[in-house]
Amino acid sequence: MSAVLPEIELKPIGLGRRLANGLMTAAAAAAVLIVLLPLGAIFAYLLYKGIGSLNWSFLTQTPKPVGEAGGGMANAIAGSVLILGIASLIGVPVGIGAGIYLAEYGRDRLGNLIRFTADVLNGVPSIIIGIVAYGLVVLRQGHFSALAGGAALAIMMVPTITRTTEEMLLLVPLGVREAAYGLGVSRWRTTLSITLRTATSGVITGIMLAFARIAGETAPLLFTAFGNQYWNWNINQPTAALPLQIFTYAISPFDEWHRQAWAGALILIVLIVISVSAVRLAANRGMLKGAN
């Protein structure tokens, strides 16, 4: 017995509906173009204005007084390195530690609370972090310092690193941990030399992301690191930083300083794009090389 197929009348899709489909597709494509336009424009201007102003003295000299040509941002680049170093020294261990706690022990209410708080901390405007670092470090020391700037940026690093570390550790299969336990390895030893080892490249990805995020931060440094026209390697003294210097020069009325702001911005963006691309590359190569 063969089934009798019901008669279906197939109607072509009407003109109105096809038109709506075409229009919306075009609109979505146009949105992509409009969004990519400023991106292209920003990079084009950075290259165009930045490369012209970039020279050896820019990278090796300190700022000259207004009106004198030449000079550079060497001390600001060094200051940024100092401040980012302090921030990483504080923020990375704390962030990784918190991430390990969440992944290995955080299956309870306290874990959820910490997870939630980390997400909240992630959304706090950076200028607020600056106020807090001012109250905690600058007021206590009695003056602006690289340490205060580093502390502010460290606070911003912690939630990003915590959450990515947790995610990466959770990707490590339970079997790997159980194998270690089976060999009589203690829990903390397993966590540090087995689980964390396995997830290393993923954890580093998180660190680089956090680093790229704080490298360009300006607002929390305004009243912590404050800026400085001279060389400084003392963590208890006000220190120049690349983003701060760009800001000061950009809002100044001098052409020479504007040129230098573009050059500084070019250096900053190259630094950030390199770290973001490195992250992308690492992510594509697979986070978990040892475990499968």
Binding site: R18, A20, N21, M24, T25, A28, A30, A31, V32, V35, P38, L39, I42, Y45, L46, K49, P93, V94, A98, I100, Y101, L102, Y105, G106, D119, V120, L121, G123, V124, P125, I127, I128, I131, V132, G135, L136, I155, V158, T162, T191, A212, G216, T218, A219, L222, F226, P243, I246, F247, A250, I251, A261, W262, A265, L268, I269, I272, V273, V276, R280
Partner: protein
């Protein structure tokens, strides 16, 4: 490890403690009036934060009005329409937009966007839309409109990233089912995807709002920094984050400093509430969403 975990809690506690104690002086002096008074006069120690609240809200709303259609369009294109090979590069480039530091946006805005607005966009808007009252007065370039546009560019990647995420969370069968009923691709996106993802998209928009409210450097560089409440978007304004950035390190006098911290406390509370709301909305879509047939 527990100590590190607890330090996250301690940090947020510390932020709240610092903001509350340092702003108590201003709070006791002005009370609620602080947020409804509009004169900011450090010389006479009179502080009212209304112009900053106004500037923050208006610049963020302008940003959202421009950014939301673009961001959702980008997300739709990348997840539903783009050829497969283009997806990765497009997603990466829009993410790159989020990696550019605020101060570089500001630099670009001062030297490229503002002159463009002053010479072309604002005169045009003034001529044809001046009657709305929103586009009146001298086109300085610098002002609320410039701040809104630069904020829009900055929040697009955030909104579109979240929108992409929640759209990807919509089950594939949903799409296939709608297509099987004879829908065109746009009809499929509208009825099968957007409708199911709308709570999450709203979450993404609110997350973008949170970012726009707290954004400091780029806005400070182009908004004009004048504590005024003007109807026209051409007029200079001031935001809560900008006033802290500009005046904090020069604030002499305890009440002045305390008033600035109180502005910070208010900004902190608002962004926290906005962010929590956004997270709840995004979770409601991405966490084990059942494929609802209709609502």
């Amino acid at each position: 490890m527990l100590a590190c975990g607890l330090s996250v809690l301690a940090l947020v506690g510390l932020i709240i403690y610092e903001l509350v104690t340092k702003s108590s002086l201003s709070w006791h002096a002005f009370g609620w009036k602080f947020f409804f008074a509009s004169d900011w006069d450090p010389v006479n120690d009179e502080y009212g934060a209304l112009p900053f609240v106004f500037g923050t809200i208006v610049s963020s709303l302008v940003a959202l009005a421009l950014a939301v259609p673009l961001a959702v369009g980008v997300a739709i294109f990348i997840t539903e329409m783009s050829p497969r090979w283009l997806r990765g590069p497009l997603a990466f480039t829009t993410e790159l937009l989020a990696a550019i530091p605020s101060v570089i946006y500001g630099l670009w805005a001062i030297f490229v966007l503002v002159p463009l607005l002053r010479a072309y966009v604002e005169p045009f808007l003034g001529r044809y839309f001046g009657w709305t009252g929103l586009f009146e007065g001298t086109p300085y370039g610098i002002g609320m409109l410039a701040a809104g546009i630069i904020l829009a560019i900055m929040v697009v990647p955030i909104i579109s990233a979240i929108t992409r995420e929640v759209m990807t969370a919509v089950p594939q069968q949903q799409r296939e089912a709608v297509l099987a009923l004879g829908a065109t691709r746009w009809e499929m996106v509208r009825t099968g995807v957007l409708r199911n993802a709308r709570a999450g998209i709203l979450g993404g928009i609110i997350l973008g709002l949170g970012r726009a409210l707290g954004e400091t450097m780029a806005v400070t560089m182009v908004i004009g920094n004048r504590a005024e409440i003007a109807k026209s978007l051409f007029a200079p304004g001031y935001t809560m984050a900008s006033v802290i950035a500009n005046e904090f390190s020069e604030a002499t006098g305890d009440t002045y400093l305390s008033a600035l911290v109180e502005v910070g406390l208010a900004l902190f509370l608002v962004t926290i509430i906005v962010n929590i709301l956004a997270q709840v909305l995004v979770w409601s879509v991405t966490r084990g969403m059942p494929a609802r047939s209709s609502t």
